[in-house]
Symmetry: C2
Subunit: 406 residues, 2 copies
């Protein structure tokens, strides 16, 4: 199956990289060979390892019958729209990360795909690599979904996290985010909530089965939030986050909005920090399920596009792809050969355990208190830990031994 | 499409309820009519609303050509195994919540389904309603998965949460869990880690493309954890959790184990409390994604089984099911008609705002400090909030107004 990528920016180049680097696993999961044939961009990239695929002519792609799937990562709703329409009409599936186009033209493009017996897929348009779209369609299908709430924009969540954790002002935090590349030089679409608005419109359209025009979503950004507001929330054991919220009322009508929202620290969304995104879905059978991950970035977003490419390749469910292979007993490392970091506690009245662990304990991890010495070890094999632990038992009784994950 | 349920216990009865209560949305998502035809159980349930479907004879199901999908919620690996084999050989798809059977007989049953051109699906076997299995197959397919880690057993997580938050001993916490129905009278499979072991074996088999026999997974339960251990972790800004861990090494071999594990409080798994489950998947493109939700319970688990039924019904991707419907402009409630709880802050040197909010503020939410009165409102429509806020501006300047979600 031949694939074309339109737009060789951050996401587009990520797609090319993943199709190349993860070729083996991608093809195993798709059940067929998948190769890149074209990359469309008006710019030149003579140094790129993918230079051979570059074309400036869209007609190369739309007129090539070999191309079955086209990735649209151009962005915006003009050229991207025209090219998407032409690809779908030409019988090519289109997969995209373009939330603006999906949110504003979704019904038309999905209809066009259906009429032309191809797919229009957009897993990457919300939540980067978080598999929220397909979960809403498939995995949560046993539920009547009653609400979807989420931290949908990493830039604003980064800024708010800085304000909350470091006590710096909105302007300073925004400047930092721009310096780190988390915010655009023109940050309006993020900080005014437009980006989150498009995403909650897309999630609502899937969850509630009816198209939600982003223009119907009342949207407030984070530009007015002060450090006093942050302190007020802290005094209430809460934090302020920019949430997209969609709730189905008992009358069957939808409340949907984007705004700075105070959430209790017991709400799992309150722990979502920095550029991470998280989405809570409530179903009438399921209760709450939360999805959490990096909401943006080259490779996470590109990996969601590639998952959509694979989905297009599968052309219906192929049970063969779901088999479990047997016959490789050495694949699992014996427990004794597995690496681990441990937390160890010894009785140590005379400090002799403490004196014996200089090479074994992780720097700064030793705590001696009430005749007990505890420490976190360096990483090594279980079998090596067993030897060291036995040695230390000469100096004091082992109280407990636990695995550590950071 | 006719469905049979084998085993009318907690999950089985939940499936019957969801197929009945969510019939409309289930059929919309499946694209066809779905109805229950049989429930197999050796017991009598004369009072059940589903009594008419009950049969004690497995032959009724396996010999009825109308039955296309059979839900196996019998549990164990004996009768459940025999019945599953016979259903698959009879050309019926089988969906299950039975982790023991999936973990021990997965390769054989998947192969049998493939040979008979039907499906064997087990979304409900891990993480209750959390859509982790399908995400691993489909949505994360653009990645080479490098690790899967998770809190996979709600009973043990409930016990550990009680030990950590309330300082009660393992034995007392276990007794409480039994009283609340979170732990079985014979709790061995939970507290000794067997249940988590089967689940990490299933997740590993999917993530790494090779069958992982649960017997190869070194497993330690939580019975030896003391309150001293809990305190030790707290002193290190960490918590102790029972984790299933599977990590692919650079040599291509897998380290997989279940054991009490110390995790840093910055790790999102550390915030997963009570009977909740959470699973972190790391992919080479994606970074970390976390899935969080109730890992057990009648309706969450049953909703995952129903999602699998729907998947069987779809028989290949049907793009029509993915269309967005338009033409219902009243579906979205105007912003002013949406309900909200607000956090309001007013300048209030003379306490007149405080005196005016008795009917408006949520009880116990008022904070007066440094000439500022802040409070959380009762829930009402935005338009009503607008009126009340305007009134209060007579008494003091409005400093900020935010949406609140608990």
């Amino acid at each position: 199956m031949k694939v074309a990528v339109m737009g060789f920016g951050t996401v587009g180049s990520g797609i090319a990289e993943i199709l190349s680097q993860n070729k083996e696993s991608v093809e195993k999961r798709a059940g067929k060979e998948i190769s890149l044939k074209y990359i469309l961009d008006i710019r030149d990239f003579p140094e790129s390892p993918f230079a051979a695929y570059l074309t400036k002519n869209f007609e190369d792609i739309v007129n090539d019958p070999e191309v079955e799937v086209v990735c649209e990562t151009i962005g915006g709703a003009k050229i991207a729209y025209d090219f998407t329409v032409r690809c779908l009409k030409a019988g090519k599936s289109v997969v995209t990360s373009n939330k603006e186009l999906v949110a504003t033209k979704g019904p038309e493009l999905l209809q066009l795909a259906y009429e032309n017996k191809v797919s229009y897929r957009y897993e990457a348009s919300v939540g980067g690599g978080i598999p929220i779209i397909r979960s809403l369609y498939d995995s949560l299908a046993g539920n009547e979904i009653t609400s979807v709430k989420g931290i949908l924009n990493g830039t604003t969540n980064y800024i708010l996290t800085k304000m909350i954790n470091d006590g710096i002002s909105f302007d300073t935090a925004l400047a930092q985010a721009q310096k780190l590349g988390y915010a655009e030089q023109n940050p309006a679409a993020d900080i005014e909530g437009t980006d989150a608005c498009r995403k909650i419109a897309i999630l609502s359209s899937i969850s509630f089965g009816k198209y939600i025009d982003p223009d119907l979503v009342n949207t407030t950004g984070i530009t007015e939030i002060t450090l006093d507001d942050v302190a007020e929330c802290e005094a209430r054991n809460s934090v302020i986050k920019l949430l997209g919220i969609a709730k189905l009322g008992e009358d069957g009508r939808l409340s949907v909005r984007v705004e700075p929202t105070v959430i209790d620290e017991n709400n799992p969304l309150s722990n979502v920090e920095g550029v991470f995104n998280a989405i809570t879905v409530t179903g009438n059978a399921l209760g709450d399920v939360m999805f959490y991950g990096k909401g943006a970035g080259k490779l996470p977003t590109a990996s969601a596009v590639v998952a959509d490419i694979i989905e297009c390749a599968k052309a219906g469910e192929n049970e063969k792809l779901r088999l479990w292979k047997t016959g490789d007993p050495d694949f699992v490392l014996p427990y004794s050969e597995q690496s681990a970091v441990l937390l160890l506690r010894f009785e140590d009245e005379d400090g002799s355990v403490k004196n014996a662990i200089a090479d074994y304990a992780k720097e700064g991890s030793v705590i001696c208190k009430n005749g007990i010495t505890s420490f976190i070890t360096k990483e090594m094999k279980i079998t090596e830990h067993d030897v060291k632990t036995e040695e230390l038992k000469e100096y004091g009784k082992l109280i407990s031994r636990f695995n550590v994950e950071m």
